[in-house]
């Protein structure tokens, strides 16, 4: 069985990142936008692990370790902000959250 090359992992990673970016731009539900943000983070994580594996170092893996920790904290704070926002404005749709307009 042949293993995949680094280029293939980077292709998958960039595809995942682009899909997440598309979702962030397209969707209006804040929760789904946040999920797409997580998707982008995961894509960068995959690229780091692949580069680390094919260069035979540990540094990328350790970085992924830290990224996962920060991502967990980020999700907790972000969801708390979304809940606070929902309590204040009764909506999580992005196009209705336009108090900074004008």
């Amino acid at each position: 069985m042949m293993t995949a090359s680094l280029n293939e992992y980077v292709i998958i990673s960039s595809l995942l990142f682009a899909i997440g970016f598309f979702g962030v731009l397209l969707r209006r539900n804040t929760l789904v936008v946040f999920m797409c943000l997580e998707l982008m983070l995961i894509a960068s994580t995959l690229a780091l692990v692949a580069f680390s594996r094919f260069n035979a170092t540990m540094d990328g893996n350790i970085f992924v370790f830290f990224i996962l920790t920060v991502a967990a904290a980020e999700v907790a704070v972000g969801l708390a902000i979304i809940v606070a926002l929902f309590r204040k404005r009764q909506t999580v749709q992005i196009d209705q959250l336009d108090s900074l307009k004008n």
């Binding site: 042949m2 990142f17 731009l25 397209l26 209006r28 797409c36 995961i42 893996n61 350790i62 969801l79």
Partner: protein
Amino acid sequence: MASILFLLFSTLTVLCAVGVVVNKNAVNAAGCLLLCLVGVAGLFVQLDAYLLAFILLLVYAGAVVALFLFIIMLLDVQGRQSFGFSGITTFAGLMAFALLLTGLGSIAIKGHLDAPRLNRLAVEGANLKSYAQQLFTTYLLPVQIIGFLLLIAMLGVIVLSKKHATEEPAK
């Protein structure tokens, strides 16, 4: 060419990522995100990062997606969300998608990323011991900073949730 497992997991990952973006229902999107994470964990296993795959499943699939589902059900926004996109938004999003994919994809396809000698070389002991050694020697300060960051995040979440509870009776 790639192995069958790589094709399987990468297809699962990409399809579920598309599912997260296009799903109308936020709960289904969270389910797709969960499957996507399982696919990424499978790819991690093929990259010999077993510990990271395990942590990804524990932290993301176990905690983060569960938290997402919990918040979706708490807010219950299913009924009143509109899914119709304006044409200009979709067009701009597709343009950004295409540009990003072209840029990153050209690096991934045309770049000579593989160092041929190191290509098949296993990571020197990507096991728990080497993680621990790195974390407690080279990366000791980042570990402490991360711990502090988690503490701050926890305090922030508590403040964010509590502020409203004290504010509400005053209204």
